[in-house]
Symmetry: C2
Subunit: 96 residues, 2 copies
């Protein structure tokens, strides 16, 4: 069974604890900025391991020291606790 889509209230509550994240085009969105490419790709490598172990993968874009991430749960058709968990781990790894 797929994870339930968060209600507007649940989403707002989660966002209040997720520094830097907002909803964009019905997905969780954040842009990260790092000192350089090595740091940016190091972050992506760490989150690739997290993604694979969660079975939950981002849509992400990188150019040099910037990484933009969009999260949604395709099986559920919206933002779920899986996206929130991914975002939380990303913030933790990026030291935000």
């Amino acid at each position: 069974m797929s994870a339930p889509v968060l209600s507007q209230q649940e989403l707002e509550q989660q966002l209040s604890q997720l520094s830097g994240w907002r909803v964009k085009d019905k997905k969780l969105y954040r842009q990260f900025q790092f000192p350089d490419f090595v740091s940016a790709f190091g972050f992506m490598s760490s989150m690739a391991l997290v993604s694979e172990s969660m079975g939950h993968h981002p849509e992400w874009f990188n150019v040099y020291n910037r990484v933009s991430v969009e999260l949604t749960t395709h099986d559920s058709g919206g933002i779920t606790h899986k996206d929130v968990e991914w975002a939380r781990k990303a913030n933790s790894l990026a030291n935000f």
Copy 2:
């Protein structure tokens, strides 16, 4: 001194030897597709090392097993031999 921008003729000649690549919005563009996320991110990890050693970094987007790449040489204001070299190495690593 920055690398010279390729002429239209030089670019067409290079493209004829670069399977899958085309010019899109004045950048070299290709989409790669892999069996799964692990393969896609493995490719990105390899090309991250190449990028850092070349001092030449892509704009790239990944979602699950797909990786889209755009290449340009910002210092030169267009496509140069550096982009062609990156593309050639990417094709080689992706087994195309």
